[in-house]
Symmetry: D2
Subunit: 221 residues, 4 copies
């Protein structure tokens, strides 16, 4: 999957794209890699439990410091997404070649730039409500499935200084990441989530010297 | 329509239910009627333009002072709803016996009390996205239509001290207001929107005497 | 502290109030206790790290199933609040007898029932922005401190089927939980967060038999 | 005022800046001017009632079609802001040289780019809660005033395809629009509110030919 996703992003000359996989040391997410990453895309399936907790904690800290995070499809069940949401992130699903159509409900949002009123996906794994997430701060897309379900498939959040976008489509059995509009959405989301200033080493300094500030070690659960 | 809606509400012993129609003097919404109303339900179709602007202004002022407002189906195009939203409130529609299924996306919300995971409506007029409203403060329901559309069909707002709920189902050609779950939703919404204290005569008094407060005459556009 | 808080709640005849402390077995939060609890209030200070992770996981699961949670003052740094928020929950603080005034910014919200436009606290520990939380779904109160800070001191969230309210005042050095308006807010919050239906044993069953649903074991991180 | 505001914007080479005043024909807001405007800034005081309703309706339609709108200080009582909000937009005020400090509560938001944790304004007219607006979709700034008040002074909204930002500071008696950080905020807001695609002539076409769409004439109240 990571090849198809990266290929889409490499169409944009202003993006530098790297990949990391579970079986690399530290899953490829070393401090050096994270320190040079503006936006991290996360796709995962089945093996969420194998992701090490201390790597998850490091990624969470980077998001709070300003790194963008795009979570794709079955990444809804990743440790990092559940940690940032605080909920189970459970949902309904069915592999039965349902047709999916993604409706744009916030056409003025940067992540919807260049799209028409909906995106026709064709056959895709069904993901449906109730999706156990906090209400999105901005709900950009709602998906329709031919089998009778709906799904909040484009969800924006702020966490700390970082921005998080969940995007529903993308089962490994379907060629969805090769579709131009899906690539457009992912590129839009990368731009939206990208920090405009460097990710902070210490994001909330106690500038006013008479007030206390709990130090970084207390930050993560 | 008002008979079917009122009939459902009269099943609840703690509700006192009255009705008002366009052809009554002041559309039945005299100051005396509004002064004794906790929650107003609004259903309209085609004749929105005949509702007098000064009555709309009075209703808006009562909402800001704390009266609840439930807007049903084609009431999305009423003057009062457009005034409270600030947008066109336009939407897609089709009369073609689409099947509608209403999904609960906030199962812990009071308006969803006593419901299962979805409500099967059967044939109904289709209302679809993009629905030009401000993003709901709480989105309780999302509808699925067999023809391929989705719709944010249960939308909560606060305006001043008042609470506003838009609920999608209810075309005059279909018996939807006789369905038990729909009656349950409307009754839940009435309880949710009902002010717990009397609707204020002067809701935002300048209690702190050294600060100014623009007086009520300036309130409405 | 728990005595003062419980005393305030016992003024309401329809509340049954129990208490639990860190040094009890399972911190007093056994399965039996949680199973009979509609709303849990959480106050803590300094000893957050001693709360056992498995108890936190159980409490989180109960909230997602519908139990209300009220987090008070220094409870902002409790494991349970950080888990439900997904952020560091860090804030500014100063113990210098700042005067606090709590402004009501959503006067129509149930948690503000019976209040005037603000609550005068008098001397209190300062808690100030930036408070590293997700944007509240409803922001009910904003506090002013004489030393120059502001604080989002009344914050509502939905998590799963449960409702969560964070309330800022309440340092152990000050008599704030004896103040009538503060007791009123806490009682209002308990009513707002209370599930109207029993807390679900299995909150999101896959009623539609052709769709899958990830089982409960996967719920918690 | 318009000179000071325009002067700040002209520091940015990529902005083309024009001005319009009440006493020009159509208040300077002709169709041709609006058609070439990406973002409109609105400052007004006392003379709100003299702005013609049909110009307000035209500006509202342009916002819904995608034009950005920045409303400054006493513009909270302009017809255009009240129409887009649906509420009275009333607030507390006092001219008594209160000191104002603006706290950043969403440091990752584009409008807060380049700011520290707060902006010190010094003496300024006090604007305080309760500010009768719909809850901002994103609350970026909260102001502290030395006299004891707080104010939601940086408020983001989406209306139709357009984005709206209200910014509190800016009384005509004070030099606030000459302050570098205030100019930074306004420039940030212009970039945030600027449509990335041309403002739509017909923003929500019924692309799916089997579904109806209410035509533009019905758009405005």
């Amino acid at each position: 999957m990571h090849v198809a996703i990266a290929q889409g992003l490499r169409e944009h000359a202003d993006f530098e794209v790297g990949t990391a996989t579970l079986d690399e040391p530290e899953h490829g997410l070393t401090d050096a890699v994270l320190a040079s990453t503006d936006v991290l895309l996360w796709w995962g399936h089945m093996a969420h439990g194998e992701v090490r907790d201390e790597i998850v904690a490091t990624v969470q800290a980077r998001v709070l410091d300003g790194m963008g995070l795009i979570v794709l499809h079955s990444g809804h069940f990743s440790k990092i997404f559940k940690r940032l949401m605080g909920t189970s992130c459970n949902l309904k699903w069915r592999e039965a070649d349902d047709n999916e159509r993604i409706w744009v409900v916030e056409p003025g949002h940067p992540i919807a730039d260049g799209l028409g009123e909906c995106i026709e996906i064709g056959p895709e794994e069904m993901y449906g409500e109730r999706f156990d997430i906090p209400a999105p701060e901005t709900l950009v897309f709602v998906s329709w499935f031919s089998g009778g379900e709906v799904f909040r498939s484009g969800c924006c959040y702020a966490r700390g200084r970082g921005r998080v976008f969940y995007f529903g489509p993308g089962d490994q059995e379907y060629p969805v990441y090769h579709q131009a509009e899906i690539r457009r959405v992912i590129a839009n989301a990368v731009r939206w989530a990208c920090p405009r200033e460097p990710v902070a080493a210490a994001p909330y300094p106690a500038e006013r010297s008479d007030a206390g500030w709990f130090e970084g070690g207390a930050r993560l659960a």
